[in-house]
Symmetry: C2
Subunit: 348 residues, 2 copies
Amino acid sequence: MSTRMNAGVRSPTLHDVAREAGVSLATASRSLNGSARKVNDAYRERVQAAAARLGYTPNLSAQAVAKGSTMTVALVVGDISDPYFSSIAAGVIGAAEESGFIVTMAVTARDSERELALVRALRGQRPRVLILAGSRTSDEPSQQALVAELTAFESTGGRVVVISQHELPFDTVLLDNYGGARRLAAELVGLGYRRFAVISGVPSLLTSRDRVLGFLDGLAEHDLTVPADRIVHTEFTRDGGFAGAVELLEHGIDDVELVFAVNDVMAVGAMSALREAGRIPGESIAVAGFDDIPTVRDITPALTTVQIPLIDVGRHAVELALAPRTAGGTEIPVETTVVIRESTPARK
Amino acid sequence: MSTRMNAGVRSPTLHDVAREAGVSLATASRSLNGSARKVNDAYRERVQAAAARLGYTPNLSAQAVAKGSTMTVALVVGDISDPYFSSIAAGVIGAAEESGFIVTMAVTARDSERELALVRALRGQRPRVLILAGSRTSDEPSQQALVAELTAFESTGGRVVVISQHELPFDTVLLDNYGGARRLAAELVGLGYRRFAVISGVPSLLTSRDRVLGFLDGLAEHDLTVPADRIVHTEFTRDGGFAGAVELLEHGIDDVELVFAVNDVMAVGAMSALREAGRIPGESIAVAGFDDIPTVRDITPALTTVQIPLIDVGRHAVELALAPRTAGGTEIPVETTVVIRESTPARK
DNA sequence: CTGTTAGCGCCTTCAA
DNA sequence: TTGAAGGCGCTAACAG
């Protein structure tokens, strides 16, 4: 006597359907999944009726082994609860589902060792597409292993798309982190700002590095600089932004007019820290971010930032993956747009 | 001559590894995946070395058909870019990965027809677990079909977990929407508020309905009511909240002291609408939400809300799914906690 | 402990 | 157009 509860019934198989419909396995297969219409309408209908009666659902795994390919997109993100990644994921899932793909998701927790392990594990699914949305780092050893793994994956027919800078030799959705930050700096100078502080991620984070570089270069064009002690490096998260602002405050930033955080969640955290310290964002100190995640237009003051069309980024990634393979690897550049809001009022 | 680029190499199979290592298929299988150590260490090492040399990754689909079961958790959410869902997803993914499960994700776009279709499609993956995080509705016909589909899934050995109220006859992570809203109302009355307006989702949305009910009952305990024209029904999104506030403003809400939006993203949207209309949240009008999504503590004024431990909710869902099946279906109730912040200052 | 041999559920030649 | 049969990559008895 088993203690297992009502788990005895197995899912109906194609074989069951064929028997129920009184046709061969092959005919059943063709009526239910075969692409071209190579089956008598009468049969086809009988099979479909039988399938419905039995509640048949094709076993995707079995189809995968038989066909030697799947209809799945594997997506690797840093942290799905971060609006940056969840917006990209929304785009990926939307586009993938439209093309009949299933998406599986893995989270690196922003750890490149873990990212490598995940990619390896994900390959077991034999996905048609592997999309890396996590931020690239300059952590050489693990990057090389990653490239090797991804190259192997491509050589067996898979497609890989990277969302970031063009650091890796694969199709990529190119985010203009450098240019966006540079233009942001220019606009800010135009508004009358002269003295800045920067809250950056760890130096090995390429996204962060490029944004800082762009920002500094943008300032340099106007002969402005940011003293080294006004650039702090912290976690690429809300709490990191908070901590970064606290650190700046400890150094003393009474004369700083504007704090640039390299992403919006950090900027939001920084605003809270500044406010707790008695500085009022948008009034006694300006703040700018990067990404334009959904909430920042609703906070007070609304945040000046560089907009990335995150949903589109996700969609582009799957378009790229589903398009014919090209020689050197294709890039889809994505426009970034400076959006000035109340957190950076013009200085009179 | 083929135009297909470097897609010719097939992934190495277990067979390749066995040959490379000079052992049988079975031995290779046992050394690489077989749970117990039933293989000579010398052989095991040779096999592992061969696997590494070849870059072998087990084909999960093949394993699935051979074993008759997968290691995947299918997660259905309403909208992954909504912080409510992405936080839950983070919990699900975290817990699933810890147990060696892969998670696949589908998005209903809050459409119950679509949810049904997705569940049907998802069954094709033969996941071990199916988690529904989308909000339940009282839309009878499609709910019945959904229950039928889920029941069939369970009868073939799958586990289903629902996150919501206990509307469906499955294991559920129970969110105390009613109680949380009721306690919120009580606290608000304690702070001195007497005249309220409510921005609700569409009436068929169970989550929304329960929160409104709880809120009204909480007020009723203090002999307070909300006039029908002060309760508006809109989309369960940021834009819905914005639109709801606009609608309230059109009706005239000069005497309203506090607006309760049934979730945080709606509250955030409502705050923007109120502000645009010249009302200052936290000063000339109070606002409260529900969920305690990450950003609301950082907005200004920080939002009073009812906290749901969203990450834990996701984790509980997979714990439930992985625990032994029980007779009537288990429930894990999740505490909700009222969090008073600056958006609802005490009225003198 | 190891190898042989059936399958798992499905697709896809190959004849008929 | 239809059916029979082999094969996809792997696991799980079953003997040895």
